[in-house]
Symmetry: C2
Subunit: 316 residues, 2 copies
């Protein structure tokens, strides 16, 4: 495997399959407004993970999807044989952030080609050892899981929409994955526990080996099934959040990508801790620019820099 | 100096003067209700600090103040020559916590003897090297500051009430102290910045050398005037919060008491980091019981245990 400045520099890095949405976003913040941005859970997650491991991307776009985004994925060594390009328009999302940049309102959604998306894996993808089921309908996430053979680690991300509208599908999925990633309000919604530790333990009882609860500017916690498996980290301090869109997906991508590049065959809890920190560092870059503008040019040393800084400011 | 299991075991510990309210509280939570509890910012702070350093307490109580609380202070080697005991009733506060245990409503306040409180320091207190101005009216905090001679470190805590009602007094106080401690919503209220780092930097420009912003279950940050002085810690994970009353005061007491016991003549930023962690550990015990019921029997090894645990669960 060749190593490039932008590529996956860990000698041990193994491929990771990432499925999710690929979108064109219009984003409005209290300060400005930007249109036609690269968006979608799989876009952010794939770009994040690509800093650590080779990515097999599964998704769908319309014929209107700009070739510059395709080229970006290719530059990042993201395999696109699982990317369907079909007649019609790409999934579109438009949202507005409120003054505090924490609350967001979805202004419009046009599923377009995503409406009939059925993730069919190219045969070479079926043995991908790491699987990140990015945030899409849990029934689609399960379809991907049905097609992979003996993965080392499966990770799923989700969101409030699926907890509220497709709860049974989600419950079935949660019972099948190794790691569930979600944010604190989603963890509350899914379990009825506002306390993220209680929420995580409730979810662990439903199947996963690990639950990671993201708390935005307050960091994240990771709880494992085994006695004593608990980790808590602060967020990397950011004073000016420009656009939080995709921060959670970037976190998931960094988390999963780091694990796929870890030394151990099956990641240990120590690896999991590191993965949370790498996800945190990547997400901190993501919020500093619109769309994936910062992530797209990021180099592995940039990430290492923030991991080192986060260690320095949290050590005592 | 003799060292007892309950006392201030650091050989280098220096006295700390603590002023604040001493109260009798009625506390209602979604689960239960308790009356006539020991309360007040100085009570919590003094009990917290007493685990590390000898405390000189400045405050006022009425003749109704139970002798058992006096005995508790004495057991904790808290010097009471600055405690005024006067005709009338002790300050009373009553409050109710909402379902999430984060929101609180003050049901009633009776200032009683506190109404005419004027903190006059006994002459022996004037040279106390460390000063913690617990949460009371900033004019009273300033009066104490007027009476101390060349303190090594002065620390003030405050609350939303003073930011809203006695802002000029508070601004004058803030300009005079070395460290300001406040929570995230208070920092927002005082500066107009919801981002706690921006808020802290705004406050630093007004005088203090250090600002500590407490974020409750999300931990705390500490920001210093000098380049690179930034620290962030997670909270010690607590699943069942019984009564958060006094958590902030206990934090301040632990923070200040630890610094007074530090090896260095003037605490370094490394000491300040540790102090935040000790404050965090103490506050985590405080919320696990009503009033000071857990803090009152706490031993130094109990605190060390949680500091060690917090290090273990946040290290990567």
């Amino acid at each position: 495997m060749t190593t490039t400045a932008q590529g996956h520099p860990s000698p041990n890095s193994r491929p990771i399959l990432i499925v999710g949405s690929i979108a064109l976003d219009d984003v409005k913040t209290p300060v400005t407004e930007r249109k036609n941005l690269l968006g979608g859970s799989a876009s952010y997650a794939a770009l994040g993970a690509s800093l650590f491991s080779p990515v097999n991307l599964v998704g769908i776009v319309g014929l209107d999807f700009p070739s510059e985004h395709i080229e970006l994925f290719q530059q990042r060594h993201i395999d696109l044989s699982g990317l369907q390009r079909v007649e019609g328009e790409t999934f579109r999302w438009s949202g507005e952030y409120m003054e505090n940049m924490n609350e967001r309102e979805t202004l419009s959604i046009a599923l377009n080609v995503f409406e009939d998306f059925r993730p069919d894996l190219p045969p070479v993808y079926e043995t991908t050892p790491f699987v990140l089921l990015g945030n899409i309908a849990p029934s689609l996430q399960s379809l991907v899981l049905d097609q992979v053979k003996d993965p080392i680690l499966t990770i799923a991300d989700t969101m409030d929409l699926w907890i509220q509208t497709t709860r049974e599908d989600l419950d079935r999925l949660v019972a099948r994955v190794d790691v569930l990633i979600l944010n604190d309000s989603e963890a509350d919604l899914l379990t009825g526990h506002r306390n993220p530790i209680k929420a995580a333990e409730t979810i662990l009882a439903r199947g996963p080996k690990y639950v990671c609860v993201k708390k935005g500017e307050h960091g994240a916690i990771l709880v494992g099934k085994n006695e004593g498996e608990f980790f808590s980290t602060s967020a990397y301090p950011i004073q000016d959040v420009l656009d939080p869109t995709g921060a959670g997906d970037t976190f998931a991508g960094g988390f999963a990508g780091y694990l796929a590049s870890s030394e151990q065959q099956t990641p240990s809890f120590a690896d999991m801790r590191q993965a949370v920190v790498y996800g945190t560092a990547l997400a901190s870059y993501n919020v500093e620019s619109f769309s994936a503008e910062k992530i797209r040019t990021l180099q592995r040393p940039d990430v290492e820099k923030r991991v080192t800084e986060l260690r320095a400011i949290t050590q005592f």
